[in-house]
Homo-oligomer: 204 residues x 2
């Protein structure tokens, strides 16, 4: 790879990271190139697709943040505190950083590294949920796919609220969490979706 190409790739990565974070994972590729001060042809030349860019720019960051949240949850002495903290933390990530909001929400089946991050995160969520369930604090009928569903529906409005300077999105999370305690549980009127179903749901 020639030196100037390397420089351009770096500029593109930086611009992409910035725009993903500001506007979410669906920003136009031409806009990324524009911000990088480079022709969009060059972007296609060096990366070829949005998915490749995502894998290079977003995957590691997302993995780090989601991994840290999960670790924190599992190392929390109280299982419920761990679970509730995890949910709040992920919601905060989604509210504050549009890119994170889209990671768990919008599916990019061809961004293999990013998909792996999602899968890992899902597995981690399963552990966190399982732990709180065994502990008796989390209602028994709550599954990881319910959590994914919640994250996915919550992200867009939370982002909008946060970018308007409000933290009112925390209320919805709090209401939900109150409903997830074993003590609050009431029979649930439908079966959970499978992971595949949810994934299909999220591919628009």
């Amino acid at each position: 790879m020639r030196a100037d190409a390397q420089r351009n790739a770096a500029k593109l990565r930086a611009a992409a990271a910035g725009l993903f974070q500001e506007q979410g994972l669906q920003v136009s590729l031409k806009e990324i190139a524009r911000r990088a001060g480079v022709s969009h042809g060059t972007l296609y030349n060096l990366f070829g697709s949005r998915e490749a860019l995502l894998d290079e720019v977003v995957a590691d960051l997302a993995a780090a943040r989601l991994g840290a949240a999960a670790r924190r949850a599992l190392s929390c002495p109280d299982a419920w505190e761990g679970f509730a903290g995890y949910v709040s933390e992920v919601c905060e990530l989604q509210a504050v950083d549009p890119a994170m909001g889209d990671v768990l929400t919008r599916r990019f089946p061809d961004a293999s590294r990013l998909m792996a991050v999602c899968d890992n995160s899902f597995t981690a969520a399963e552990s966190i949920i399982e732990r709180a369930r065994l502990d008796g604090s989390l209602r028994a009928d709550f599954t990881a796919s319910d959590l994914l569903f919640f994250f996915a529906s919550h992200a867009p409005l939370a982002r909008a609220a946060a970018s308007a300077g409000s933290d009112a999105w925390r209320r919805g999370v709090a209401f939900m969490l109150d409903g997830l305690r074993t003590a609050a549980a009431t029979p649930v009127p439908a079966g959970p979706m499978s992971v595949e179903q949810i994934n299909r749901l999220l591919v628009p």
Copy 2:
């Protein structure tokens, strides 16, 4: 108005009603004209804007459905049953009919009749909430704007789930409702948004 124009307007209204219901309130106007078997110029000619079409085609229907749900809620002997039934019913409307999903969610400030329907619906929600709060069954810190927030975040995924043949969206509603009972309440970490704030949020 000439007879043929009247006929075309009827065809356009029918096509619009169908497409709004199938795909939501943002379908392309050209597609509506296509389905009506009419040039898109005619659509602009007879209606002038998407908002006018909404006011003619969606407003009454939405008013009827939301009004019926609200009436049912208020006439329910048990205040909590009324509230919970209302929430479920509105969520079902949103899941089953994309147009209804968008009515409370996407804001069309220039569709004055539709806006009026939203406002009425909000007022009705306030009554239903107030009643259940006074009754002691609904937690005291829950407001109508919280409900609107919930509806808005829930609608898109519920719609997707329903159109994939799943009713798993009911689970999220059930979890939420369990968290809204007074018995389940825990202090909430932020203040509610004002109606204006929420409205601003929903205008994309």
